[in-house]
């Protein structure tokens, strides 16, 4: 009885979380142009999507920014973690405190502060300013997922590598890096997700002429969202879902391959 109640509760929360997503997917097959009415099943938005130059451009921008900014954040964040592990406690906590600011602060304040910075120092608003902003708010996600791994590291393994004749570089890449890798990967994924989903900071730092999917949607809100957007979102979501399922079942698959080779 209690177990049943629990399952019902979890199910309700899931419906709440995923109902809008299902709604959007359904809308992507809606022949009627307005959200309010069901006009029959169609695939036309999926084909017209690729002819829509505006949306395609926004998509490319979004993906480029997400990839570059999360890669850059991963590199900077990981190096920062390594550096911080060798620091005095107090210096480290000050730096970590600063790191947390973009996470704990409101996005609108971060967006405004960066906008003011770019204006004051004469940056040209566009792709570059969005990228710099995204790197800035992505770094904390990387640090927060690499740092716990760093703390778990046994410092003796690094020293053991040196003792066995490895150079500092070799010791780092052969011993420390593999241990950090899961943290680095999840940090990268987190940063990528955050960058892709960001609207507020991009809104303040983009300037005219450049759009990501988020800002494009925002400008379309008043005129009405183009159904191609629903189609594109559905494609993105399903792709990610499939990738995740693939990744989660991959370890088993790898083992199967190994077994086959041994035979």
């Amino acid at each position: 009885m209690r177990n049943a109640a629990r399952k019902v509760y979890i199910a309700l929360i899931f419906i709440f979380l995923y109902a809008p997503i299902v709604t959007l997917m359904v809308l992507s097959f809606n022949a009627s142009k307005t959200r309010a009415k069901w006009g029959g099943f169609t695939l036309k938005w999926y084909s017209s999507l690729f002819q829509n130059r505006d949306i395609m451009e926004a998509l490319v921008n979004t993906l480029l920014i997400a990839v570059i900014s999360s890669l850059a954040a991963t590199v900077i964040g990981t190096i920062a973690c390594v550096a911080m592990s060798g620091m005095k406690r107090r210096t480290r906590s000050v730096l970590l405190g600063v790191t947390n600011i973009p996470m704990l602060n409101a996005d609108i304040v971060t967006g405004i502060s960066l906008m003011l910075l770019f204006i004051s120092f004469g940056f040209r608003f566009g792709f570059g300013t969005i990228l710099l902003s995204h790197i800035t708010f992505n770094i904390p996600y990387v640090i927060l997922s690499v740092m716990p791994r760093m703390k778990q590291l046994n410092p003796s393994t690094y020293e053991a590598a040196l003792d066995l004749g490895a150079s500092h570089m070799t010791a780092f890449f052969k011993v420390i890096f593999p241990d950090l890798l899961p943290g680095i990967l999840s940090g990268f994924l987190m940063a990528f997700t955050m960058s892709l989903d960001d609207f507020i900071i991009t809104h303040f730092t983009k300037g005219a002429g450049v759009d990501t999917l988020s800002t494009k949607i925002y400008t379309e809100v008043k005129k009405g969202i183009k159904p191609e957007m629903y189609a594109l979102s559905t494609i993105i979501f399903v792709t990610v879902l499939l990738l995740l399922i693939l990744v989660n079942t991959a370890p088993g698959g790898k083992n199967d391959n190994k077994d086959n080779k041994e035979q």
């Binding site: 109902a19 602060n105 609108i108 003011l116 955050m194």
Partner: protein
């Protein structure tokens, strides 16, 4: 490694100074000066004008209500999830992060479709012979949007804090004679405080400062403090006033941060 840490940390320290510290300084500079560059407190005291005060008050009210609802929904959920002993901790996190791959604005807009007079929810309610709900373009819809968007940020820290509690600590309480209610209020709840604080911060701050959810679900009539600030920057181009109001907003954020620093000394309540 110690000797090299100085230059290894250089890129990040430099980045933090240029893109975190200086920009925050800019807000304070703009917020505390007028158009001629002279020092003034007018941008800050502008919060006391009727229009701004009303927006701030509504923001505080709606964000507090949303935070409370998120907490009440998330705590039982986090307890159920923590008790499930799922072998894959990351799987649960994934379920809550996955919706973020559908654009935030579209997800929120989808609620319009769901909530409309003849929308999906009302159709279901009619079918069940229940009274329809008409909350679109009201503060209720904004609260719903906030709860929807920020619920994962409450669930994850709570789930983390709860799953860290040693099962034997709970067994010990039972062993010493505590019933379920007593065990919950004396042991489980106090031990999950870091997660509670972190969850409250992660819901309250974005809810207090949002301008998107109110724009999308509240119609154009309901102004939150976030909307006021956004308009000062994008439409009125009064950066000084916008910065001044942001400083006021930051006071609430900083109060929240101090509270979380006091209650969560070890930073245990992270989302990851």
């Amino acid at each position: 490694m110690t000797s090299k840490s100085k230059w290894l940390s250089a890129p990040y320290v430099l980045w933090s100074v240029v893109f975190i510290i200086i920009p925050l300084g800019m807000i304070f500079y703009y917020g505390l000066t007028d158009k001629t560059g002279a020092f003034t407190l007018e941008n800050i005291t502008a919060i006391m004008t009727a229009e701004h005060r009303k927006a701030l008050w509504l923001s505080l009210l709606l964000s507090l209500i949303s935070t409370l609802i998120c907490f009440l929904l998330a705590y039982p959920l986090a307890m159920i999830l923590a008790n499930m002993k799922v072998s894959q901790h990351s799987f649960i996190i994934l379920i809550f992060i996955l919706p973020m791959w559908m654009n935030f604005l579209l997800r929120t807009l989808a609620w319009q479709t769901l909530l409309e007079k003849s929308g999906v929810i009302n159709s279901v309610l009619t079918f069940l012979h229940l009274p329809n709900i008409n909350i679109i373009n009201t503060p209720y819809a904004i609260v719903l949007g906030m709860v929807y968007n920020f619920l994962p940020f409450m669930v994850l820290p709570l789930y983390n804090a709860l799953s860290k509690i040693d099962e034997n600590v709970i067994n010990a309480a039972r062993d010493l004679g505590a019933g379920s209610v007593h065990t919950f209020f004396r042991i489980i709840l106090p031990l999950s405080v870091p997660g509670i604080i972190s969850g409250i911060t992660m819901v309250f701050v974005p809810a207090l400062t949002t301008f998107v959810i109110s724009t999308l679900l509240g119609g154009s009539k309901i102004l939150l403090i976030g909307n006021v600030i956004e308009q000062e920057f994008t439409q009125a181009s009064n950066w000084h006033l916008g910065s001044g109001l942001s400083i006021v907003l930051m006071i609430f954020i900083i109060l929240n941060m101090i509270a979380s620093a006091v209650f969560d000394k070890d930073g245990e309540g992270g989302i990851l």
